[in-house]
Amino acid sequence: MRIVCPYCGDRDTEEFIFRGEALGRHPGLNSDEYAMFEHVYHRTNLSGKTSEHWYHVQGCRNWILVERDTLTHTIYSARLAKDGES
């Protein structure tokens, strides 16, 4: 599988570290127990198109927001996570 890094271009996945599902922002330190539980433990674990965070450790060292199909490994988009959330 190859990911088109927005900075480096087309690269093999061995250059990346997979973090997991792209979640919403941290609920905040004053949030209730349930919100924190949701954030830390709950994943939708979609079978199909999903958004993920990958870190380009052997490249530009940036977090990449990747839209990927978990069944086919088709990659629909990849952009710098710091440029904003989906």
Binding site: Y7, G9, R11, D12, E14, Q58, G59, C60, R61, L80
Partner: protein
């Protein structure tokens, strides 16, 4: 092929370890970019995996808002001078002891490199002024193309340079 010395020459291929090369990393501060940083050093730093040559220094794009500056010099104050010039707009740290640079040039240079690099080095997409931060045999490398001979400079972390040389020798033997 023995690479313990300073280099190696054969038809269509020349491999040389560059000596006295200074390095410094440049990280843009908030709201700064290649243009605003570059104007302090007499030009504009190109954004993207590309090189910018200003005076006797090559600035290699290694990520958004980050560059690796390199120069052929014995001077130990390369990074300090750069830090002084870029004060307030970028953070500079000396990397001179961190990298070793191998220069590969000749008709067969691309062929040799392509055995380890999992990106396309065809001249249509990777030519003079292009750079890449990637891996060769799991060894982190920064590659930049100097001319259309082609000539490539490959920087590896210093402690990995014997492993990189081993990869070079191994790949070369299988030509």
């Amino acid at each position: 092929m023995i690479l313990k010395g300073i280099g190696y020459v054969d038809e269509g291929l020349q491999i040389e370890e560059r000596q006295n090369v200074a390095f410094a990393s440049i990280l843009a501060r908030k709201n700064q970019n290649g243009e605003t940083i570059g104007e302090l050093i007499g030009g504009s730093l190109r954004e993207g995996p590309l090189t910018t040559i200003l005076g006797d220094t090559v600035y290699i794009g290694t990520g958004p808002g980050s560059w690796l500056a390199t120069s052929s010099t014995k001077a130990t104050d390369f990074a300090d001078n750069l830090a002084t010039k870029l004060a307030g707009r970028a953070s500079v740290s000396d990397q001179s002891g961190a990298y070793c640079v191998t220069r590969i040039t000749g008709d067969r240079a691309r062929h040799l490199l392509q055995r380890g690099v999992a990106i396309n080095l065809h001249p249509d997409v990777f030519t003079t002024g292009c750079a890449a931060t990637t891996v060769i045999a799991h060894i982190a490398v920064v590659i930049w193309q100097i001319d259309i001979s082609p000539t490539y400079d490959i920087a590896t972390f210093r402690t990995y340079s014997p492993d990189f040389r081993h990869w070079l020798a191994h790949s070369w033997r299988s030509f």
